[in-house]
């Protein structure tokens, strides 16, 4: 197992190198550049700026310079925001997205798994229809509708929660509730649906019939005999889902004014802020790769048939 873990961790390095290389070149293929504004800059000025960022050098040299920086943990200067580098933006926004994401995914797992199990053991009853109805709503209603509706109800009408802001003075955690609930909605829906179908499938399997024939109680059958097998699809879904949720959501961050990472995904692309784009891509892929690794490890704990050498 230890050997496997080491092997997988080492495997992350080439994966990341490929991702960095691809994104470094792909962003430069897009038309336009970081210093092309509506007004054309005088050639001299543009040349000076490009010289400052080493953009007059051959592309391969720029690439080498960038890779060296990345290895040392320096994601380079932002091409758009003169006074800050990419490390600053990610360092100041990622923790906020992380807090939000972890709370949201926890909510999604707790409620998704619960509703999924309830729906599957009461198949075709009102419990099932209610849970799956909620899930369909969660999947089909876009965030830019859910967020304002939440604000309207809980902030404007009921006045229980502040409309927006992030860790405001006084009662800081209340500002976290609405954005995390909104963010968790579609994940909750997916998990509930996954859980329902995988639990239904597991409950129909031969070994559950054996457990019934042994005289086991329904609750024992569900939690002791069926749970592990039914959770496997959820675990594999959670890897990428976690990476997606902790790197933030543009809509939620905009509506609730959360200083998170999500907005940089969009902004940096519009600005052709090459280093920032590649920076957020790196953050996202590191989380994704690490999560997939964790998922595989959890798998081996859940399913004894899987063993890693």
């Amino acid at each position: 197992m230890a050997k496997y873990v080491l092997k997988r961790l080492l495997g992350i390095i080439p994966t990341m190198l490929i991702i960095v290389t691809l994104s470094f070149f792909i962003v430069r293929v897009a038309p336009g550049g970081p210093f092309d504004g509506e007004k054309k800059l005088p050639d001299v000025v543009k040349k000076n700026i490009e010289a400052k960022y080493h953009m007059n050098e051959p592309l391969l040299k720029q690439y080498g310079r960038y890779i060296l920086g990345v290895i040392q943990g320096d994601l380079g200067p932002s091409y758009k925001y003169k006074d800050h580098d990419v490390n600053f933006f990610i360092g100041s926004s990622l923790p906020n997205s992380m807090i939000l994401g972890v709370i949201a995914i926890t909510l999604a797992v707790v409620f998704g798994v619960t509703f999924g199990i309830l729906a599957s053991v009461n198949q075709n009853s009102w419990v099932d229809y209610l849970s799956m109805g909620l899930a369909v709503i969660g999947i089909s209603i876009p965030l830019f509708v859910i967020c304002p509706v939440l604000q309207l109800v809980f902030a404007m009408k009921l006045q229980w929660l502040p409309t927006s802001g992030w860790f405001r003075s006084g009662d800081p955690w209340t500002t976290v509730i609405m954005p995390s609930v909104a963010l968790s909605f579609s994940y909750f829906a997916n998990i509930a649906r996954l859980m329902r179908s995988s639990m239904l499938e597991t409950l129909r399997s031969d070994y559950i019939r054996t457990a019934k024939a042994k005289g086991m109680k329904r609750s024992t059958i569900i939690f002791k005999h069926a749970m592990k097998g039914a959770l496997l699809p959820i675990v594999s879904y959670l890897g990428p889902a976690f990476a997606g949720i902790v790197t933030g959501s543009v809509v939620v961050e905009q509506v609730f004014r959360v200083p998170g990472l999500g907005k940089f995904f969009v902004q940096s692309s519009f600005n052709r802020d090459y280093t920032l784009i590649v920076g957020v891509v790196i953050v996202y892929s590191v989380i994704l790769v690490v999560m997939n690794f964790i998922v595989d490890v959890i798998y081996s704990f859940l399913d004894p048939r899987i063993s890693y050498q």
Binding site: Y207, T210, K214, G215, H225, R305
Partner: protein
């Protein structure tokens, strides 16, 4: 082996299990009677889909519901009608007094739990005063009894670390862990290769002889039946068409279907036409909305037109322990009455049209 005046363990009367489907009601089991005594091995044979497995799942009250439902009949186990007891009482019977082993040992054990966990939980479920240590010791002994070498270590393995035959042994050990009175074996050897089959059957026979456990053996292998069973029920389309002690079934098969089944067993000494193996023509009927007739008549070479295709055959006792449901053995008076009734029915149907 049945001893004289052995205790009646299971007595099934008129059991009916129907499945509601979109296409109609599937009468998977439609009014069957049979009984099992202490120490007896009863074989239930028939083609796929004739209702063998559903019969036994009904006895365990494990028919998936919906769509399945036991709609009629009585199942007396040690004197009580277990179709009437509460679900909690039924749970106490399952795995404790009636145990079951299934067709596919590869999928019938929980792949996520150790063998020890699965065995101990069964014992402690039904005997609450047993400690974990005692249950473990007993489980190891049970595994040894069914012939698992190195049971002390092997018990902590997961099912995937066992071969198919070994898993079926584990299933049997688990089924016996509470000294069940009745063991239902639902095609226990179908998924295993021939040598392992023989070992597993021997094991079941040993249990039957040594512990006086009554066994219901569901199979479509008549060779297995001949070697193992005291009595045989032949099922066709949800009904028992012939019931007799094993030697009588083989020597004097009364029902044309039983005859066909026995002829279909490959034999070294008898060759069919042009050296081909005999087979019963046609397919088993769709059990949705069976018309009022003998379900076997379209495939029967002895079918009597006007009778078999219009009237239910009567159940006739050929001997005090040989029962057959076929018009070949009905007397003339019965036939006349049945035909007259069929005429009347058809007339009234025409009128209503």
């Amino acid at each position: 082996m049945i001893e004289k005046d052995a205790k009646l363990i299971l007595d099934v009367h008129g059991l009916q299990t129907y499945f509601k489907t979109d296409a109609g009601i599937v009468k998977a089991v439609d009014g069957i009677d049979f009984s099992v005594h202490e120490g007896e091995t009863l074989g239930i044979v028939g083609e796929s889909g004739c209702g063998k497995s559903v019969t036994n799942l009904s006895v365990m009250r494990l028919v998936q519901s919906p769509p399945g439902k036991i709609v009629g009949g009585e199942v007396f186990f040690e004197g009580d009608d277990i179709l009437k007891v509460s679900e909690a009482e039924m749970r106490n019977i399952r795995g404790n007094k009636i145990s079951m082993i299934f067709q596919d040992p590869m999928t019938s054990l929980n792949p996520f739990l150790r063998i020890s966990t699965q065995m101990i939980e069964t014992i402690r479920l039904h005997e609450t005063n047993v400690t974990k240590q005692e249950a473990l010791a007993r489980s190891i002994q049970l595994l040894k009894n069914v012939g698992i070498p190195g049971a002390e270590e092997r018990i902590f393995c997961y099912p995937h670390q066992f071969s198919g035959g070994m898993r079926q042994r584990v299933m049997i050990a688990m089924a016996l862990s509470c000294n069940a009175k009745l063991l239902i074996a639902d095609e226990p050897t179908t998924a295993l290769d021939v040598t392992i089959q023989a070992q597993i059957l021997e094991l079941i026979q040993k249990v039957n002889h040594e512990m006086k456990t009554a066994v219901i053996l569901i199979t479509h292998d008549l060779g297995v039946v001949a070697g193992m069973c005291d009595n045989v029920c032949v099922m066709y389309a949800g009904k028992i068409v012939e019931k007799a002690p094993t030697d009588k079934i083989y020597k004097f098969p009364a029902h044309p279907y039983t005859e066909g089944l026995i002829m279909s067993v490959p034999r070294m000494d008898i060759k069919g036409e042009k050296g081909k193996l005999f087979s019963i023509e046609g397919q088993p009927p769709n059990v949705i909305d069976l018309p009022e007739c003998c379900a076997f008549h379209p495939r029967c070479h002895k079918a009597m037109q006007g009778l078999c295709n219009r009237c239910y055959p009567p159940t006739v006792m050929l001997d005090d322990d040989h029962e057959v449901t076929c018009w070949l053995y009905g007397d003339e008076k019965q036939k006349k009455v049945a035909m007259a009734r069929a005429d009347e029915r058809e007339k009234s149907e025409e009128v209503s049209k």
